[in-house]
Amino acid sequence: MFAQQLVNGLMLGGAYALVAIGYTLIFGVLNLLHLAHGEVFMVGAYVGLVLALAGFPPWVTLAGAMLAAAALGVLIERVAFRPVRNRGSHVTPLITTIAVGLVLQHVVVKIFGAEPVAFPAPFASASLELGPVTLSTLQLLILGTSVVLMGLLEVFLRSTPTGMAIRATAENQTVAGLMGINVSFAIVITFAIASALAGAAGVLLAWNFTGLSPFFGVKVGLKGLAIMLLGGLGNVTGAMLGGLIIGVVEVMSVAYLASSYRDAFAFAVMILILLVRPTGLFGARLQTG
């Protein structure tokens, strides 16, 4: 029972981590919060829905959602961040991104309606017995996808020139510029990657919950934001582990306590950890180690 719940929690947590990583990457390079990130996640899931209903295979659903989310993220950087960067206060982008988030919600409501819709299963799932744990092939796909994406991100940030440019930009924009790095371009790439991960998480969680609604992004976005704080602002590894912890806590509280309080337990654990470690599990700033 416990092992089973642990696996279920890791599956949920992996998708949460993907959302939180997006927040933390963007906060890392800009020191600004992107409050429409939850809506990028939601739009990614709806693009996945359209592709899935059109009969495309699961990997196309996933890749399409990631591409669409990436494009949306780059657009948001253009309209909601760049015009107010280096001008006005840190509060300005909070307001502009809240506005973008509302617009996205209402556009989706206009197209798909405000009611929750069913998300088709990607394939007829089979069950695998692994000792005490029963794993469906769908669960395996969800968990595997988030693990692979996080691994790829880690390698990208650590050892590619573009990844290094993003880390340098996150550490000090002036110095990054003096190294010949095009800082504006590094910021755009960061938005694209962060948003693509959110789009992937959208499809993964829609598969998991077998449905979605235009307000799907609000709760998950809030959770992702809190997980970023839990892991340490701008800390990618912290967001990964924070996501897994919250996923497990949530599933455990449903299994052993009361299912209607799942979010309350998740946020309570977060508050407790932050009381003990105010800078988060791993301390602040964009780093991979």
Binding site: P161, M164, A165, R167, A168, E171, N172, T174, V175, A176, G177, L178, M179, G180, I181, N182, V183, R285, L286, Q287
Partner: protein, 238 residues
């Protein structure tokens, strides 16, 4: 090679640089000395594009750099080692050096560049895997210069390389400068340590409240009484 013409830079209402003109010839060392707040660092920041001048021109090999983004100026191999060394403290020594080479995608391989830097500063090779933030001040300055060398600079601008370092370390850093010029790099050196700077500079400018008040050959300025009094602290004693 570098011609600064009537440059004016303001921060809000503060006029940090007011009509400075200077030139740096090919493969020469030019020093810029002056008290704190004289506008030396601001001048370098305007040349490398970090701040935008209000008026004036910065011509490098005939091209006006004013208005170009910082990374474009760096790609022309005008390399600025900022005051405080500009460490990427949460990245390793090796990563800092590799990033230094980003400016130069066409030139010799990164491996050749690394070999050259490690030959000049062997300590960096020993510390390659360490985070730059854990280095001592002298090692950080070596890393800052080594990282700049990775870009293959045509013009290297050093802002206070001796700041906060022990005399022995300062000498080690300064011994690099003739090697750079021997390879054709011009050096624009900002220093508070006026003696050190004037000794190695072919030409020097003295900046006061944003204006050039004196200029001449380094050796001549060293012998000027008012320079000795104001910047070398030896006037009265001798």
């Amino acid at each position: 090679m570098l011609e600064v013409e009537d440059l004016h830079v303001s921060y809000g209402r503060i006029r940090a640089v007011q009509g400075v003109s200077l030139s740096v010839p090919e493969a020469a060392v030019v020093a810029l000395i002056g008290a704190n707040g004289a506008g030396k660092s601001t001048l370098l920041r305007a040349i490398s594009g970090i701040v935008r001048p209000r008026r004036g021109a910065v011509r490098f090999r005939g091209e006006n750099l004013v208005g170009l983004p910082v990374h474009q100026i760096v790609r022309r191999r005008v390399i600025h080692v900022p005051e405080g060394r500009g460490m990427l403290a949460r990245m390793t020594v090796l990563e800092n050096l590799r990033i230094g080479g980003f400016a130069r995608r066409d030139g010799p391989s990164t491996a050749a560049g690394l070999e050259r830097v490690f030959a000049l500063f062997p300590v960096l090779e020993h510390r390659a895997g360490q985070l730059a933030g854990t280095l001592s001040g002298g090692e950080q300055q070596m890393l800052a210069i080594g990282r700049a060398m990775m870009a293959g600079p045509r013009l290297l601008m050093l802002d206070e390389p001796s700041l906060g370092l022990a005399p022995l370390v300062v000498r080690e850093i300064f011994r690099i400068i003739p090697r750079l010029t021997a390879e054709g790099t011009a050096v624009l050196l900002v220093e508070q340590n006026a003696r050190m700077a004037l000794q190695c500079a072919a030409h020097a400018y003295v900046l006061q409240t944003g204006q050039v008040v004196l200029s001449g050959r380094g050796a001549d300025l060293l012998a000027t009484p008012e320079i000795q009094r104001a910047y070398l602290g030896t006037g009265e004693a001798s």
